[in-house]
Symmetry: C2
Subunit: 189 residues, 2 copies
């Protein structure tokens, strides 16, 4: 019983964050969703810690939803490029922007974000290394290349989501494809 309600609170917080982002979710919203009293949330958590944990859960769920596993590195890279600027990926990147922003002042959030950031970078680096091994492309320093690709993507995604400056999704996708092609020594269209 004891872990039931605790887990329910964490799950409710993660659900709400996926639906509405982090900023607008209150403790009362979470307890209402979880069907428990206000006091129980504060019995099991401090709000800052719960929020950070729930954001990590929500982010992980969004990543799973947007970037499903694929058999080959080629296919994985394709999936990444295709989903990079699709509207269905917006919640993921909005959440990521919110998390990194909060991480600048919130140590709990910073901790939760650090693992996710390393995970994403490692995942892409591993795809790049894998493809290089199989001679699908060239990539001497996969971790550096992954960092550059993610930086370029993050910058463009910020532009697309904020409209500062306004950038078309298709245009952004083409910029990224070209960037990746140059990184990997693939023919540029």
């Amino acid at each position: 019983m004891t872990t039931d309600r605790r887990a329910a609170i964490l799950a409710a917080a993660a659900d709400l964050i996926r639906e509405r982002g982090i900023a607008t979710v209150r403790t009362r919203d979470v307890t209402a969703r979880a069907g428990v009293g206000i006091g129980l949330l504060n019995h099991y958590f401090r709000w800052g810690e719960l929020r950070a944990q729930a954001a990590a859960v929500a982010l992980s769920a969004e990543i799973d939803r947007v970037v499903p596993d694929a058999p080959s590195p080629e296919r994985q890279l394709d999936l990444f490029l295709q989903s990079a600027f699709g509207a269905q990926a917006d919640p993921l990147w909005r959440l990521w922007i919110e998390i990194t922003d909060l991480a600048m002042t919130d140590p709990d959030m910073a901790q939760a974000a650090r693992e996710a950031a390393e995970g994403i970078r490692d995942a892409l680096a591993s795809i790049l290394a894998d493809g290089a091994d199989r001679q699908l492309w060239r990539c001497a320093a996969p971790r550096d290349a992954a960092l550059r690709i993610l930086a370029f993507h993050d910058g463009l995604v910020g532009f697309v989501l904020t409209g500062l400056p306004p950038v078309d999704r298709a245009e952004a996708a083409k910029h990224l494809e070209r960037f990746v092609a140059l990184e990997l020594g693939l023919p540029v269209s």
Copy 2:
């Protein structure tokens, strides 16, 4: 007299935002700094509007401080690349991140940010076009190139400032230099 106090309030808000960022500045902080009563701020402004205007003023001041004018496009590009990841530019980019983040939900901030974003892009595009005219480098589509360079820079700056993932400033600067060299058909070091 009337515009004196109004301007003093706006200036005080901009100063505080430059010192402490947007999120922690309160109406009471601003009136205390400006040496006026709380009521006067609300007489002249709504807080949301004042905050957006003050953020725009602060951003403009930061840009002037970090990226001074230079005579030639070569020199201007050099200055941009040198200051791109220097610690002295941190307040500028922190402010920019905060502004774009708020712009996602705050229409006033979005308006203020739009002009700044266009201005920055135009400024860089103009440098790129200028240099291409003088045969210093090649750049067929200056506005597109400026967008890509700024996107890559924004992404890297986010990594450097948040540490998600952790990136060395010098490393980031090298990544950007190399990218710009590729964009402009300059020899890569």
